[in-house]
Amino acid sequence: MLFDDSRRIKQDFAYKGDLKFTYAENFFALSLAALDYTRPEKNMYAYKMEGFDRDWIRSGHNHFARYTNLDPGEYVFRVKGTNNDGVWNEVGSSLRISILPPYWKTPWFRVLALGIFVGAIVLVHRVRLRARLRQCARMEQVKRMEAERVRKKAATDFHDELGHRLTKIGLFTEIVKRKLSEASPEILQYLDKIIDDSRSLTNDTRDFIWTLDPDKDSLFDVAVHLKECGEEMFDRTGIAFITTGISENLLQIKLPMETRRHLTLIFKEGMHIIMKHSGCRHVTFAVSLETECLRISLSDDGRGYSGADRSGYGLQSMRQRAEKIHSSIRFDSEPGKGSRIEVTARTL
């Protein structure tokens, strides 16, 4: 018995072995021949494609077996024939035929496709999750900015109203003081106290509003604010107030609200102490930005103080403030040699 696949197997002899077709070649005819050449036209055939045909197919004298559209898979083609007398050769012959599945039906492709599919879902999910998180963060920021704005607005309104009232208190007290110019110095002294207190109240409120302002968030703003406080405080006191090291480079150093507040309060306190106790002629407020730290100092050429006096003068509260903002503070002074306060903070 011979199988002849004229396309693939050119030799005209009994082909033993397997035939492999791709999924696109699942349309073929097998030509059959029984090895009885007495009267070949009398030979009869029966064949069966195991895996596709349920029963034997008797084709009679027709020696072609045609198959179309075989699914990918493993098949065994069996064939038997008769001689010209119609005697069946029950042994027959067989041929293994495998039709290879297309690449998209192969297991490895399916695993890969599934992997890609799952990967894509995970990716999409993560991207969406991230977008949602970003949106949440954005909304959170908008809310925070809105809260900040409301807080600033409320604080500013309060400050304006307070400033307005305190302006009046200042004006009226000044008028009273002038009208009472013949009065006892004791009364005038109290009037001055009222004026001083109302003024420091406005200044403190102004400082407070200033720290709340989210736009004033750099070291530059702190330095300029302190410079203005100093100029105002030492104006007409006979003490020259000098600043060094303020430049727009300081704008790059952003400081949190707490740090700005404590720095301001430390140096305002320092200025107060110098004005009240030092008896100096020059005060220098210096800011310097070094590679890893920033240094802010306030020095004077006044009478100075000894180590024993160091507990007083509000130095303790300044030290506590410095600790709160994780910076170090130094007080240097000797009697007769002026004094110096220096705050050092790491910028990295």
């Binding site: 400050h159 307005h164 305190l166 004006l171 009226f172 000044e174 410079k227 203005e228 727009e248």
Partner: protein, 214 residues
């Protein structure tokens, strides 16, 4: 300034302020101080415009936020009728954008309302004598405003004064650094203010033209 025979000239001051108590209080203080005379008080710009134009007051203390015409709008009208009059703005916030806009509109200076009365009078006297106050932040706003133009109208000296002000230096420190008197620093700053006004006017005109073309 109204010349008084055999005496230092008296500075005449007009006040435009909508709060009655502050207005009257300031008037009493000013008139009660030697060398000053409060000649007029107005509660709004509308009434101030005509009055001040006629009287040629030396200084107008002008509240920024007024009902009706704002203090900033009022500056132009006053300067038009009486070029020699200095307008000093009264404000609650000294680094305000409103202060900057007032300076662009022609104000010569500004005072924080709650300033000690003695200092208010000093500031008025300084402005009349050619002084001009400028804080660090205002100096920076001016620098930014000029930065937009390609050829700056400022002289090298004026630019130098402005740069030093931006660094937080006081007038005295600048005077020492440039080997000039404080008076000269004041003179430069007054010129900077004038150039700022011309500059903002031309910028406003340019902007209007641009917007009409679009």
């Amino acid at each position: 300034m109204t010349g008084m025979p055999g005496d230092t000239p008296i500075i005449s001051v007009a006040i435009v302020e909508d709060d009655d108590e502050i207005r009257e209080g300031l008037a009493i203080l000013i008139s009660g101080t030697e060398g000053f005379l409060c000649t007029e008080t107005y509660r709004d710009c509308e009434s101030a415009n005509t009055g001040i134009g006629l009287s040629k007051t030396d200084v107008v203390l002008m509240d920024i936020q007024l009902p009706g015409m704002s203090g900033i709008e009022g500056i132009g009208a006053i300067k038009e009728r009486s070029t020699g009059t200095d307008v000093i703005m009264l404000t609650i916030h000294k680094d305000d954008d409103l202060v900057f806009r007032s300076l662009c509109a022609g104000a010569t200076g500004y005072l924080v309302k709650n300033t000690e009365p003695g200092r208010i009078l000093d500031a008025v006297r300084e402005v009349v004598n050619g002084g001009a106050p400028m804080s660090t932040n205002i100096a920076r706003m001016i620098v930014n405003s000029f930065r937009k133009t390609t050829n700056t109208p400022l002289t090298a000296r004026e630019a130098e004064v402005l740069t030093n002000l931006c660094k937080g230096q006081s007038y005295k420190m600048i005077a020492d650094a440039l080997f000039v008197s404080e008076q000269t620093v004041h003179f430069h700053i007054k010129n900077i203010y004038q150039k700022l006004q011309v500059h903002s006017k031309s910028e406003a005109v340019a902007k209007a033209i641009r917007e009409k073309l679009v």
